[in-house]
């Protein structure tokens, strides 16, 4: 294959800080396939340095605005920031409108910031299939903090917790009664809880309810109780405290040994995903054979379990 050297060249350019190369590399990992894996393989040894921070919450709670305020704060502290902003793909047309940059204009023109919008392309869970790969690329390119903004999430979009070191869940005042706060899901993944738009009525009640919810759960053994912080992202109020809490959380992860545990868990997750993709791609590489197996299963000549065994036992399909 002629592609291999190109990918290594692209990887080198990403590692050397070329923004154009980084943008191209991000497109490549979104497209996926063997060239993307070759690229990711080449940058992988240079990853693991960035603090990965996830931002999630319902549509309209201020994720993009908070991302911008945090990025401005980190930039003033001399840290560089990469941002991946995920928005939903239309299930009807396959197209998407990615509008997170509208609220990120204050970051425009700063060479210490790189923003990439990403459509989730039908993937549930709040992030795209390639979001983790995009984070790896921004990490490899040397950004100190990588912020991931999920799609407007409800109660079930919890994948961000597996992709980020520190997950910030954003709420706003007056959204639901206190039983909402003890339901399963998004609040459980929070390392930090932010009540944004805290200049609105009822903010103190929401803060109190969230704190009460945290006291109900027995988190004392877990070692980290998520702080509940009030903020007005649009004016910058409360941003410093959020950044400080995020830094504190990272320190807690390191000191407690959870950082190493999480890194191992993430590695296992990545391995599982890549293995599934690779095995499926190889199994389907013989299109005629694949179609024949499918037809045999459909006519009940063989069962899908035996077919899968057969594919995995075919030399070359799962060989490393």
């Amino acid at each position: 294959m002629r592609q291999r050297p190109d990918r290594v060249e692209l990887a080198d350019a990403v590692l050397n800080g070329s923004r154009r190369a980084l943008a191209r590399a991000l497109t490549l990992v979104e497209t996926g396939g063997p060239p993307a894996r070759a690229l990711l393989g080449a940058v992988f040894p240079h990853t693991g340095r960035a603090h990965i921070v996830g931002l999630t919450g319902a549509p309209g709670v201020g994720k993009s605005t908070l991302a911008t305020a945090l990025a401005l704060h980190w930039r003033r502290a001399g840290r560089t920031v990469g941002i991946v902003a995920v928005d939903p793909t239309s299930p009807f047309s396959g197209g998407a409108i990615l509008g997170d940059r509208i609220r990120m204009q204050a970051l425009s023109g700063d060479p210490g910031v790189f923003i990439r919008s990403m459509a989730n392309r039908g993937r549930l869970g709040g992030i795209a299939r390639a979001t983790g790969d995009a984070v790896l690329l921004l990490d490899a390119a040397g950004f100190d903090v990588v912020l991931v903004e999920t799609v407007g999430a409800g109660q079930d979009e919890v994948e961000i917790a597996a992709a980020a070191h520190t997950t910030i869940v954003i709420e706003i005042p007056g959204a639901g009664d206190d039983v909402q706060t003890i339901k399963a899901g998004i609040l459980e993944i929070a390392d930090l809880l932010v009540v944004n738009k805290a200049d609105r009525e009822g903010a103190d009640v929401t803060v109190r309810q969230l704190r009460a919810m945290l006291n109900l759960s027995d988190l004392s053994g877990a070692g980290w109780t998520p702080p509940v912080l009030a903020a007005v992202a649009a004016s910058g109020e409360g941003i410093e405290a959020i950044a400080a809490a995020a830094a504190h959380h990272l320190e807690y992860l390191r000191v407690s040994g959870r950082f190493a545990d999480d890194t191992r868990k993430r590695a296992e997750y990545e391995l599982r995903v890549v293995l599934q993709e690779t095995a499926l791609e190889r199994a389907q590489s013989d299109r005629a054979g694949w179609k024949m197996l499918v037809a045999q299963i459909a006519s009940r000549a063989i069962d899908p379990y035996a077919a899968a065994e057969h594919l995995l036992n075919t030399p070359g399909n799962v060989a490393m």
């Binding site: 923004r19 154009r20 943008a23 191209r24 991000l26 497109t27 979104e30 497209t31 996926g32 396939g33 793909t89 239309s90 009807f92 047309s93 396959g94 197209g95 998407a96 409108i97 990615l98 509008g99 940059r101 509208i102 204009q105 425009s108 023109g109 790189f114 923003i115 990439r116 919008s117 459509a119 392309r121």
Partner: protein, 134 residues
């Protein structure tokens, strides 16, 4: 995974009339494209920087302020400086036929659309040009 057409839709200059830009963004979404919408009051520098980071195939510029003969050539110049000549640029707005001719012939804008242009036609034009490039 297929490669999706990525389009940046932006409004250079100072007018705040973004209805047209939003209609186009929506139409291109419905044609299956990924549209990065950056909003109003964008400088040419902001537009080209966003296009670079987003690695777009197409830039759609909506301009109703009358400043198109200043702002659009500037965008094209910045794209050339960044080595991004391969990005397809289309413009829409209140642009006279004479100006449109100059923008196309002299500055390399691929197409100029006025009021009443069909969004389907715009989407088809972009799809055809992107397919020809691939």
């Amino acid at each position: 995974m297929e490669r999706k057409i990525r389009v940046l839709v932006a409004k250079p200059g100072l007018d705040g009339h973004d209805r047209g830009a939003k209609v186009i963004a929506r139409a291109l979404r419905d044609a299956g494209m990924e549209v990065i919408y950056t909003g109003i009051q964008q400088t040419p520098e902001m537009i080209v920087e966003a296009a670079l980071q987003e690695d777009v195939d197409v830039i759609g510029l909506s301009i109703l302020s009358g400043a198109h003969m200043t702002l659009l050539p500037r965008v094209m110049q910045l794209l050339r400086e960044q080595g991004m000549d391969d990005v397809l640029v289309v413009a829409g707005g209140i642009i006279s036929d004479d100006d449109a001719r100059v923008l196309k012939m002299q500055y390399g804008i691929a197409e100029v659309y006025g009021p009443g242009a069909s969004t389907l036609e715009i989407a088809r034009f972009i799809q055809e040009r992107c397919a020809a490039k691939a």
